[in-house]
Every structure is written in structure tokens, then in C-alpha cells.
Amino acid sequence: MSPVRFRIADEADLQHATAEAHQAFLGLGATETQAAKFRTAVSELVRNILKYADRGHLVLTELTDGHRVGMRALVADKGPGIADLELALADAYSTSGTLGLGLPGVRRLVDQFHIESEPGSGTRVTIEVWT
């Protein structure tokens, strides 16, 4: 299946996109726990877009390495970006007064985590999960 792209601009998009992510991974044979973790990770990243960047998009891609299958989610925005990535990835760091567990939590939930951010030009997070 070719990559599937979703726009992210409001809470309804969040709901729609995370449900699709969950469904897609289950469809590949993931367990309920694997799918719940993936959905939650996507949900965190998409919420960050709504909180900090206003709008952005999500791209879901199916992966395979010959014997295992997985999913990749790219969550990107052209918002304000993150000045200090190390700080943003630390537990309990938040500029909005919430738990500050989103990014570090996502990192623990997935197999592969990659973040790029440039202040002023946006943030791109790529995560991968495998069955």
C-alpha cells in the first residue's frame, strides 16, 4: 500500500488519524497492545501539532523487512519548531504546564524514533513500530 497522508488541523482530525493508525497496524497483524501503543504515540505527536503548531500532517506507511511487518508514521508541521531538542525530550519538560511526557513517552513506546526541528521552520518526527 502506498503512503497515506492525513491533514491535521483540529481534534476531529486527531481522532480520525489515530483511529486509522490503530486500524492499519491491527490490519498488519499487530496485537491489541502493539496497536494501542502505536495509536497512543501518534496521538501524542498529533496533539503536539495542535498545541504548538496549529496545523500539520501525518503520513502512514507500511513497512516490511522480509520477515516482519511494521508501520511508519511521519508527523510534521511548519510551526515554531523546538529550540532545545534535548530539553524537549527530557521527562517532565513542558512549555505548556502539562505532564511533559509526550515526546519522551513516545520514544519509549516505539521501536524507532527520529526528530528533526528547526526553530522557525517546523518539526518532523518519524516513528517506526514492528510486529
Partner: protein, 300 residues
């Protein structure tokens, strides 16, 4: 999924062809045009289209990199080729429908899409060679352009109405009925999504009801909740704290193994919040708190 099964209101391909006046004459004309296009015409059409597209504000927003453009160029050429091939079967309509859904999903405004479609049609008309077939080909291309536009616009509106439908379903699930299931014990089952607005409703609903019923225990059952991310956990922790300040203990029931794993891996510390896997366990705790014990009859 077949083209018609997806939407009751989308006419059959045969009907569409009839409405747009596309028959054997048009198909023959398209074939004549196709033979002409084989001499570099497709590449010119694709190049011209992307030259134009790069000038549009949408280009920046929707096409991120060279690889995406290359992929889209390929699809674009296929699209033009299939128009010229003149085979208007189910597969043709399905493909157009998919194109519409994909563009609606990424949030490309319909007028932008139609603008691009218009540009492409103009370019195609300009690719018609002079000669005795010219007029017939121009007519055929115009008709097919309109046909495609119609199918894609239908897909857009279907996508929009499906979204509205799923949103109103979500709205239905959004009521927050707090019930007193036993004297001193309140139950709130949550189904669906917890967003900021709903969290607010839950909070006010719960606190008013606790005050009115002087409840000792408040059970929130989350077995129907789709995702517990940090935001949702945060709401739940807040509600728990608030109920405690009203002298009422809060139990969060319906924590599945999948959700338990997710919460711990996210790193959320639920602290003193009492959680249970099932509603039954929560009831046992609740009855215990209000001084009741449930027993099998005759067991003592």
C-alpha cells in the same frame, strides 16, 4: 469495494457516460489523439503541468520533496494516458474516485483541485493537432475533462459527508451520564474519545452529581476509551484529585493490559489513583468503602 457500493448517490458508470455524452465517436476521437500524443506529448503535458503547479501556493504546502514530485508525476502521466485510452470501465471510475478521496483527505481545497483540472484540460486541448479530426478531438477531450471533474467532486463531497457522519457519531458518544448505581456510589462510563471539551463536561458533571448525592465513591469506567495518552491521563488525574477534594474516592476501572502497558511506558505516574481492570473489581472496592459486602446466598 466497487465504485457504486461506496456511495448510493454516485450514478453508475454507464449513466455518467450517457450524461456526459461520451460514446463510440468520442472514444474513436480520443484514440486518434492518443496516437499523436505518443510522440512526446505526454511528457510535454506533465512538464507543463508541473511548471504551472510550482507557481501555485499549494505546491509548497503539499509537495515536500523531489521524490514526492517524481511519484506524483508518474501518477499524473498515468492519469492522462488513461483519459486518452478511452476505456471507461469500472476501474477507470474507481481510479478517479480514489484520486478524489486522496486529495480530499490531505485537505487540498476543492477549488484548487478543480483549478488544476482546468489547467490540465486547457493544456490537453492545446495538444490537439490541426487536421480533419481536430474538432471531434476537442469535443471529446472537453467531455472527458468534465466527466473526470464530476467524479472527483463527488468523491470530495462523499468524503466530507462521511467525516460529518463519523463526527456526529462521536458527538453521540459524548454524553456523560453519571448514574447513582447504589447509595453513595456513582458510575460514569466513558465511551469514545476524551477531548478537552468533553473533559470539561466530565469534570462539571461529576462534581455537581457528587455534591447532590453526597457520594462516597465515584467510578469512572474507561473500558470504552480509545486512547489514553498523556492528555487523557492528565484529565483523569485532575478529575480524581477534584473528587477527592469533595470527600469522595475515585476509582478508574476498565484498564486493559494494553492500556496499562501504554500508561507505564509513557511514564505517567498515576500516583494514588485507584485503578482496576474490570468494573466488577471496582464495584467490590466501592461496596467495601460504603460498608457493604456482596455474598453468594447461603454461603455463610
Amino acid at each position: 469495494m466497487s465504485y457504486t457500493a461506496m456511495d448510493l448517490h454516485a450514478p453508475e458508470p454507464a449513466t455518467m457516460l450517457e450524461v456526459y455524452g461520451i460514446g463510440q465517436d468520442e472514444i474513436d476521437a480520443l484514440h486518434a489523439w492518443r496516437d499523436h500524443l505518443e510522440e512526446g506529448g505526454y511528457t510535454q503535458l506533465v512538464d507543463s503541468f508541473y511548471r504551472w503547479l510550482r507557481e501555485q501556493p499549494e505546491y509548497e504546502e503539499f509537495i515536500e520533496d523531489e521524490a514526492t514530485e517524481q511519484r506524483l508525476r508518474g501518477l499524473h502521466e498515468r492519469h492522462v494516458r488513461s483519459m486518452a485510452a478511452g476505456v471507461f470501465d469500472d476501474a477507470y471510475f474507481e481510479a478517479r474516485d480514489r484520486v478524489g478521496v486522496v486529495h480530499a483527505r490531505i485537505g487540498l481545497p476543492l477549488h484548487s483541485y478543480l483549478g488544476a483540472m482546468n489547467h490540465l484540460t486547457m493544456d490537453m486541448l492545446a495538444q490537439v493537432p490541426a487536421g480533419e479530426d481536430q474538432a471531434r478531438i476537442l469535443t471529446a477531450i472537453t467531455k472527458v475533462g468534465h466527466l473526470d471533474t464530476a467524479v472527483i467532486a463527488l468523491a470530495y463531497s462523499r468524503y466530507a459527508s462521511e467525516r460529518v457522519a463519523s463526527q456526529s457519531k462521536a458527538l453521540l458518544e459524548m454524553s456523560t451520564p453519571v448514574t447513582e448505581i447504589w447509595q453513595g456510589v456513582l458510575l460514569l462510563p466513558i465511551v469514545g474519545i476524551i477531548d478537552s471539551g468533553r473533559a470539561q463536561d466530565i469534570m462539571t458533571g461529576a462534581l455537581t452529581k457528587i455534591a447532590a448525592s453526597r457520594a462516597r465513591v465515584f467510578i469512572i469506567d474507561i473500558s470504552g476509551v480509545a486512547v489514553v495518552d498523556t492528555a487523557v491521563a492528565n484529565y483523569l488525574i485532575k478529575v480524581t484529585r477534584a473528587t477527592r477534594l469533595m470527600g469522595c474516592e475515585c476509582i478508574v476501572s476498565g484498564v486493559s493490559p494494553a492500556i496499562a502497558e501504554t500508561i507505564v511506558e509513557l511514564g505517567i505516574d498515576v500516583g494514588t489513583v485507584v485503578t482496576t481492570g474490570t468494573l466488577m473489581q471496582a464495584l467490590v472496592v466501592a461496596f467495601d468503602r460504603v460498608g457493604l459486602r456482596v455474598e453468594q446466598r447461603g454461603s455463610r
